[in-house]
Each structure stands twice: as structure tokens, then as C-alpha cells.
Symmetry: C2
Subunit: 367 residues, 2 copies
């Protein structure tokens, strides 16, 4: 097990007002940092995560275990921590140190569970803003995020128009479209259908494991691509013989792959937190306030933006990246659009490092 | 309720040997017919269905309720029943009159359930062959199938190389690829995870409704397309107010759409039959015998073939249609490839009639 010894915390001084109503009387936020803030305080990079990762994006002296974006972040890496001060925040609503539905409500002494107020991407962005404020940063060099983290970075730029000079979104979207909503809604219903869920009141020792496993399998199917799996697994069968009579057991390699990924995930993530974060993505529409994505993104003073997408990503498809590029267009802003022919679908940014390193390096080497 | 008064039956005279082992001592096959067999017996069209439809492809004098391919089949329609004698067979393993896991095993007097032998697409093709043999047809004008029905038509042409002069496959595949296997495997696991499934021994009055609903929702997500839903639903919300506190209830139109489709399906289809048919699709590989799809399809004496695919179909994607076209290539065979820009994904052949009518008409008008 990781010791999480690199994890730092802040506790907000006042209650936190949620974007869609309700308050949190006490908010703890977990984060990690790499590198050092310079004297001008202008070299800070804020990294928002996807739905499930913790703030442990990369190893450090304090925690040598590899992080979820290990190859992208560190000395001599694309986001070079000899030059940049990088902050990664565990999302509000998550379960890796930041306050979320699994945290104890100080008003009741019990875990929030479904009493947690509706979570919005804007709340996660606001919590990230509190962290950089506490660190004495007025304006970020860049805010970066992939997937849900990209949505959060977009919300951050509209809510705090002066808080970032640069923006990098990866495999993200200005708003959730019905195809992705359908998939996430089904994942949530699968979890809620597990009798062990008990309307959110599961035993800590007996969570809805089956529902979480099935939801994770559906997640994996949407995070990768058919092209990748065709080349990688084809119609290969697992070598082990079937148990006799196990008509519907694991037979194909692809089934075994999903099984092992799902088993790894279960027990690592709190089901209620998963439900809240998943729903927050559906609710997200950066253009909600004025009805126009471009108007909202036009409020931001971001000077340089990069939008990266993967051709095989069908969860956050290329037309959503194109929409972002169009809506980020502004006379005072340089916008670069990078389309990568990665095979690994939505997850490409986590695995196809050879293709993702060059554009990220280019962004952070320049300027 | 439909009266099924157009449904006819044959009962096979001897036991049925299953493709992957095991036997069925008694097989009943349900089918419907439209039009009349001509004196030369060369105007017969055999139609295989997708996973869930019955043999009721179209209305007739005996059953005036609309069938699942109503607009394609009938007097003056693309498959013109004034000219053709059309036979549609309920798949072996299904639950609309043909023998399947929900049927009674005459050896035990109990329903087969999971004692039913492994079902293969080849078995469904073989059962279809028995029906046309019983009707006195030696060689079909054309065998037609979409989705699983297309797989069945391909198996039919390789198992009975002289039994068809024409072949039309729609949104089908020569073999299951890992992406589709993953999705179907997950659907099966969702059903099997419903506590009411009871390892296949559910009460007739208390089937695994929740599992079937969730599996059907996943099916619907894979049968349509994100493009269609974006135009049709966007981010529209349902008009009804949420029940207070129902954080994860239906909010978006797309969620309501899936809910109503899933509710319609449940109760109509036997869960064990669904599992067997779904698995049969995964196991299907027309090239299994020799290791080569082209070699197997080369055995068929089909003279005219049409392969139709929809651009937005990601369950049976265009590269699988292209593979079929390449592997059907033969000096003595005319092969037409039709790619349709339909928005409705895999289901396009059921709904985008304006695009599907012309090629089907062309195929059946010629010759």
C-alpha cells in the first residue's frame, strides 16, 4: 500500500457554498506538489484529475510510488518540475483525502453519504482555487486537466477569469453529450441496483462490490477502443480450461482483461463518491450560465490554450474537441489544436506517452 | 397482445445435433411466410432475425399487427411478396415458438434452462435449413439477415453451399470482435448478477427484471449512435419535477428514453434465451473451420451478394462490412457494397427506411 506521505492538506476557514445549492460546513482538501514556487510566483501549474485518480500524479522524494501521470511530470519530463511548481488536487467529492460523500458531516458525526449536496464540476474547480489561494498563487502559469479534469479546468477558467494564463485540456468537453450521459447514467444505475448498495447506506466492510465491478467494466469499455482491442486481443481465448458447466464464464482474453481491471478498481473507490462525481460530469455545461460556450470561455483571460484529443476516443469524441477550439478562439489568445492518432481511445493520455509527450513538452517548453 | 395467428410450426423428425456438441431430442421451429412459392420453387427468400425479434417480420392477412420489418416486406414493398415467397424463422434458442432454453426438455419434463447445450449461430442456420427443406425448397432466391441474422445468413451459405443463389447481409460481421464481445459479455454478467436470476432457475413469475432492464439499456446504447442522440435529445431535461432527494433519478431526456425502451423489453424475452443467443454471437467466426473467412465464404455458390453497413454503427463497424466484401469476392459472384450515412447506428436498418429501401429494392427488383 502507498503511504500517501506526500499528501498535504488545507482546511477551508469558512463554509463552502455549493454551485447548485447547499453548503459544506467544513472542507478538507488533499493535494500534492512537485517543484518549487519561484519568487515571482508565476510558475505554478494546477492539475485537475479525471474521475477516479488521487492527487498522487507522480512520485516524489516523499512518496516514491509511481503516480497516475508519472511519465508526464517530474524533473526533465514534459511538465518539468525543475522549472514549474505543480499542484495536483484531489477533487472535492472524491475519497482520497478531500471532503466528499464518504467524509463525516461534522453536524451529525456521521458520513454524509446521500446527504452530501449535489456536486458540480464548478465546485471541484472552486476547491482547486482555494488550494492555490492558500499557497499564495494569484495567477497560474497553466491549468491542466484531462477528461473530467479538463472539464474542471474549463470551469476554473470561467469562474476565475484571471486565475490562469495558460490552459491545457485533454480528451475533455465543454459539456456532457447524451451518449456519455447515457453510459454514466447506466453505470450509476448498475451500482444502485446492487442490493448491497442499500440506498447509499452500505457497510464499510460490505460495499456494493458487484455493482462497482460491473460499472468499472462498462467504464473500461468506454475508455479504450475497439481498434486497440482488435489488435491486442483479437479472438484469443484464455488458456485455462473452463470449469465444466460454466457456460457463461470467462472464455475470451478480452473478458479476462476486463475482469482483472474491474477487480483492481473495486475496494479502491467509495461507491457514493463515484456516483456524485459521475453525475457532476453529466450536469456540466460550461455554457450553462449564458447559454453559450464561447461567451463563457470568452470571459477567461487565458492567453495560450492547447486542446488535445485522440481520434479513437468515442466518450469525448473529436467533435467535442473541435467545439472547444472554436469556442476558445479569441483575438488575444493563441489556441493550438492537437489531434493524436492514438489507438487507446479516451485513456490514450494515460498510456500513449510517446504521442502525448511532444505536444505537452512543446506547450511547457515555450514561453 | 398479438395473437400470433400467422405463426406456423415444423417439428423435426430426428434429434438435432448441435454444432458444438450435445443434441436436442425434439426441435420445434416457428416461422411465418408471406407470398407464395412459385411452381419452379425458385422465388423463396429466407430471412434470419437479429437477437430479439420473433418470426413476425411483417403483417399479413392472418396477423395484421405490424412486424419488425414491416416497411421492407409486403406487396409492393422492397421485398415484394407478390413476387417472392418470404420465410422468416424464429431462431433456434429463442423464445417465440422455436425450441430454446425456455422450452421443456422431453427427457426430463422440465425446462432446459442452463442444461440447454451450447448454442452456435451455425445451429440457428441449420434450423433455418430444416424449415426450407420441409417447405420443399431446394435453392433459395436469397438468404437475408441483419445483425445476428446476417451472421446466420453467412453461416447458412457456408454450411449449405448450394442452398442460396443470393445473399444480403446488413450491419453484420464474419466474426465477433473483442469490442462487441466485451459489451455482450457485460450484458450477460449484468443479468447473471441479478439475485433473481438464481443461476438460471428463476421463477417464471419473478424473472431477473432488473438485470434484463440494465442489459437492455446497454444494448440500446450500442444499437444507436451518439450523433443521433445529440441531435434528438441534446441536453434536454425531462419536464417532470424530481422527487425530492432523488439525486440519481431520471433527469435528462436520454435517460428517460432508455428507461422506456428497457421497460418495453422486459417481460418479452426469456433471460436464459437471451444469454444463449448473446453468447452464440461471441462464438461466431465464419472462418473458424479453416482459419480463413474468405476460404469459408468461397465454398458458397452464391452468385449475387449485397453487403450493407451504416456509417454510425460502432457495434458492427464499417471495417467489418469491408472485410465481408473482400472475403465474398469471387470470379463467379457479383458483390455490391452499400455504405449508408444513416444516423441511427446499428439499428439503422430498423428505422432509417428511406435509406435502406433503395438498395434492398434494387437487389430484389433486378434478376
Amino acid at each position: 500500500m502507498t503511504t500517501h506521505s506526500a499528501r498535504k492538506f488545507i482546511q477551508l476557514e469558512s463554509e463552502f457554498l455549493m454551485h447548485r445549492g447547499g453548503t459544506l460546513p467544513r472542507v478538507d482538501l488533499a493535494y500534492e506538489t512537485w517543484g518549487a514556487l519561484n519568487s515571482r510566483r508565476d510558475n505554478a501549474v494546477l492539475l485537475f484529475t479525471g474521475l477516479s485518480p488521487s492527487a498522487h500524479a507522480a512520485s516524489s522524494g516523499e512518496d516514491t510510488s509511481p503516480g497516475w501521470w508519472e511519465e508526464m511530470l517530474g524533473p526533465g519530463r514534459p511538465i518539468d518540475t525543475r522549472r514549474y511548481f505543480v499542484v495536483c488536487v484531489n477533487s472535492l467529492g472524491s475519497c482520497y483525502g478531500s471532503t466528499g460523500p464518504a467524509s463525516v458531516d461534522p453536524r451529525t458525526g456521521e458520513a454524509y453519504r446521500l446527504e452530501f449536496p449535489v456536486l458540480s464540476i464548478e465546485d471541484i474547480a472552486g476547491a482547486g482555487f482555494e488550494v492555490i489561494k492558500a499557497l499564495g498563487i494569484e495567477r497560474l502559469h497553466t491549468v491542466v486537466g484531462a477528461s473530467m479534469g479538463g472539464m474542471t479546468a474549463l470551469a476554473f477558467c470561467t469562474l476565475f477569469p484571471h486565475a490562469a494564463r495558460g490552459l491545457v485540456t485533454i480528451s475533455s468537453a465543454a459539456r456532457a453529450e447524451p451518449f456519455a450521459i447515457a453510459l454514466r447514467s447506466l453505470q450509476r444505475e448498475i451500482i444502485r441496483s446492487d442490493p448491497e448498495w442499500h440506498d447509499g447506506n452500505y457497510d464499510a466492510g460490505k460495499p456494493p462490490v458487484r455493482g462497482m465491478r460491473l460499472a468499472r467494466k462498462l467504464g473500461m469499455i468506454t475508455y479504450r477502443s475497439g481498434e486497440e482491442w482488435l489488435g491486442r486481443f483479437g479472438r484469443e481465448r484464455v488458456s485455462a480450461e473452463h470449469a465444466p458447466g460454466d457456460l457463461f464464464g470467462i472464455d475470451f482474453e478480452i473478458e479476462s482483461y476486463l475482469e482483472s481491471h474491474a477487480n483492481k478498481f473495486v475496494g479502491q473507490f467509495d461507491p457514493n463518491c463515484y456516483l456524485y462525481l459521475s453525475r457532476a460530469m453529466d450536469l456540466f455545461d460550461v455554457g450553462e450560465h449564458s447559454g453559450c460556450v464561447a461567451t463563457e470561455l470568452g470571459k477567461s483571460t487565458v492567453e495560450r490554450a492547447m486542446v488535445i484529443g485522440a481520434e479513437t476516443d468515442f466518450l469525448f469524441p473529436l467533435h467535442q474537441q473541435e467545439e472547444l477550439v472554436e469556442c476558445l478562439h479569441h483575438p488575444d489568445r493563441e489556441v493550438e489544436f492537437v489531434v493524436l492518432p492514438s489507438l487507446q481511445g479516451h485513456d490514450s493520455f494515460l498510456v500513449d506517452m510517446d504521442r502525448f509527450r511532444p505536444p505537452i513538452s512543446r506547450f511547457f517548453d515555450q514561453d
